[in-house]
């Protein structure tokens, strides 16, 4: 098991350095001089320009610059936002909980709808229920997230008035950020009205963001269940006289879940990309909205840091998924 872990780590580290190479190249590829970009419209006098160039190490050979960058990154220094002048890492960490909270509920939504749909479709293979379920799944899979968010907003917020249109919580409440997760913070404070407000604000964005993972999970559950239900041990379980519920839920689902773990893990990248659109649509103050604003404000250090951190999150999650896969499926470790 330890060897397996090391093997996975050996893939993780070069990938991370590869990404630093990309983000480093990204800043160099942006047309224009970084100092003039920072100075903005006011311009800068040539003397000061030369001093800044030397200070920032822009006159050093490119390899030195890259090594410097790596050194800074490893010390947690991802540069300073050009717009707000705060360290990029601090901005990221302040906004990250909002994205995690949203993604968590999106996955909860995806699992609570996708799993049952997939199981039912597998059990009633070839029936109307199966076709309808797979139709829903394929439609969800083909959904343009930003449009889906617009439609949900139009129907549930504007027309029916059931849910708030945007934001994380009603502006009536001020919650001291302790963990950054609003639901936990309001719960700790015991402020139930604020908790309810935060929960209501979550419903639409989580649904919009969770739709594609829901579709993928429903589809994968169905095919994985179909495969498992044809196995000998299922026949044995039925022959033993176990109830269908037990056969399906314990003997079937537990084995069908193994490939699903990988699928759910892969959805993290999809979720983070979807979060960019969903957060922009719902003015959700998370990483996705922040990245889009960084692009619009030409805040390249923020964009660079954001890309690096998000990629790091994706590869760490994939690493965890790989390890979990090894834990749940002992056969894989032996290879």
């Amino acid at each position: 098991m330890l060897l397996y872990l090391f093997k996975r780590m050996a893939v993780f580290i070069p990938t991370f350095f590869g990404i630093t190479l990309l983000t480093f190249a990204m800043i160099r590829l942006i047309p224009g001089d970084p100092i003039e970009l920072m100075a903005g419209e006011r311009g800068i006098d040539p003397e000061r320009h030369a001093i800044l160039r030397a200070e920032m190490g822009l006159d050093d050979p490119i390899v030195f610059q890259y090594l410097n960058y790596i050194g800074d990154v490893l010390q947690g220094d991802l540069g300073v936002s050009v717009v707000t002048k705060t360290p990029v890492l601090d901005e990221f960490l302040a906004l990250f909980p909002a994205t995690v909270e949203l993604s968590f509920f999106a996955i909860i939504f995806a699992l609570s709808i996708g799993l049952p749909l997939g199981i039912i479709a597998a059990l009633r293979r070839g029936s109307m229920i199966d076709y309808t379920t797979m139709g829903i799944s394929l439609t969800g899979y083909s959904m343009p997230v930003f449009w889906w968010a617009l439609i949900l907003m139009m129907v549930f917020s504007v027309t029916l008035g059931w849910t708030p249109v945007s934001g994380r919580i009603s502006f009536l409440y001020y919650v001291e950020p302790v963990t950054g997760f609003l639901l936990i913070d309001t719960w700790l404070e015991g402020n139930w009205a604020a908790f309810k407000s935060a929960l209501w604000h979550l419903v639409l964005p989580a649904t919009a963001l969770g739709t594609i993972p829901m579709a993928v999970i429903a589809r994968m559950t169905r095919s994985s269940m179909l495969e498992v239900l044809g196995e000998d041990y299922i026949r044995t379980a039925r022959a033993k006289g176990l109830s269908s519920w037990r056969v399906v839920m314990i003997h079937g689902l537990r084995n069908a879940m193994i490939p699903l773990i990988t699928v759910i893990g892969l959805q993290v990248g999809v979720l983070l990309a979807g979060a960019i659109l969903t957060e922009t649509m719902f003015s959700w103050p998370g990483i996705g909205k922040w990245l889009i604003e960084s692009v619009r404000r030409r805040d390249y250090p923020s964009l660079q840091g954001g890309v690096l951190l998000i990629s790091a999150v994706v590869i760490i999650v994939n690493l965890i998924v790989d390890v979990l896969y090894g834990v749940f499926n002992p056969r894989i470790r032996k290879q």
Binding site: G18, I30, P144, F146, L150, A273, I292
Partner: protein, 320 residues
């Protein structure tokens, strides 16, 4: 994977004899053995999947709509009718048959814009995939055929590219190159590339040890011939499926970039770009929000349905 080769191996000579015997047209009764022509066989499997046939039919209609947009569209896409701002669709109370799906805030006919938008989405979507597949095949063949250092470099690079969520890397590339439809398309090509490289590479690696490759090698085939004439045709089935699904992702990503103001620029009638201005009219003109997105959904759905059908028809593992 083994079944792909055994199938194509068996059918390749057959295909050539048939073509010389009876021209391009297939007459399965004339064939001595009872195997149908590969294309006929393919069509039989594809036809069995009703969803795929439905997707194909709707897609053909969409393509026709795009091609004949200048003839079909009631108005030019960018013509502004000042006396018809925010007109609702024809079936609504204040609607008019002049503007079947209504007009936008500048008085442009929505249906005409959607029809011309189909041109933009379908052409850029398929061009993106053609480019991504071509470069993907090239890199994948190099990596899978030569292995060693070439393989390590290419695979590592692709792993790194896959670690960044695709929409995010597309946004970064557009931020570097500047917002335009061409740059957005280029960005999507780059984000799609790793999938095709990996797919080609893994197929090539599983084909390489097969006897037919060795036979060709012994017969003195050059590297290029081995790569493109011998191995590549046997790796195409999964690539075709992935390419079909790739078009749907490309259309989605291009629309998302257009929506964020990083793709096609107004007044180009691109579906995503059309939606980006509609947010503020959500209450007053819901049709402006509904229809362009609906067409994105339908187009993407059709490609996905077709991709499923192609997988059924081309993947021999599921055939039996």
């Amino acid at each position: 994977m083994t079944e792909i080769t055994s199938k194509t191996d068996g059918e390749n000579p057959q295909m050539t004899t048939e073509q010389t015997d009876s021209g391009a047209v297939v007459a399965s009764t004339e064939v001595v053995n009872n195997y149908p022509h590969p294309i006929v066989e393919f069509w039989q499997y594809f036809r069995a999947n009703k969803g795929a046939v439905f997707g194909l039919v709707v897609l053909v209609l969409l393509v026709l709509m795009a091609i004949f947009a200048p003839l079909l569209a009631p108005h030019p896409p960018n013509e502004q009718y000042r006396d018809a701002l925010l007109m609702p669709p024809a079936w609504a109370e204040q609607g008019s048959m002049l503007y079947p799906l209504g007009t936008d805030d500048l008085g442009r006919d929505l249906l005409s814009r959607i029809m011309y938008g189909a041109q933009v989405s379908l052409t850029t979507g398929s061009m993106v995939v053609v480019l991504a597949v071509s470069f993907g095949i090239l890199l994948g063949l190099l990596a899978g055929y030569f292995r060693g250092l070439v393989d390590i470099v290419i695979t590592r690079l692709m792993d790194v590219m896959l670690a960044v969520p695709s929409l995010l890397s597309a946004i970064v590339i557009v931020a570097i190159l500047g917002p335009s439809l061409l740059n957005a398309a280029l960005a999507v090509v780059i984000t799609q590339l790793p999938h095709f490289v990996r797919l080609t590479r893994s197929s090539v690696i599983s084909e390489m040890p097969k006897p037919y490759v060795t036979a060709s090698q012994v017969a003195g085939a050059s590297h290029l011939r081995l790569m493109f004439n011998t191995i590549l045709p046997n790796c195409l089935a999964p690539l075709i499926v992935q390419a079909t699904l790739g078009i749907s992702t490309a259309i989605l990503d291009l629309a998302a970039l257009g929506f964020l103001g990083m793709g096609a620029q107004p007044p180009t009638p691109e579906w995503g770009t059309m939606l980006s201005g509609s947010l503020q009219f959500m209450q007053r003109a819901p049709w402006m929000v509904t229809f362009p997105g609906l067409f994105i959904l339908i187009t993407v759905l059709c490609f996905n349905l077709m991709g499923d059908g192609l997988r059924d028809a081309l993947d021999p593992k599921l055939k039996r």
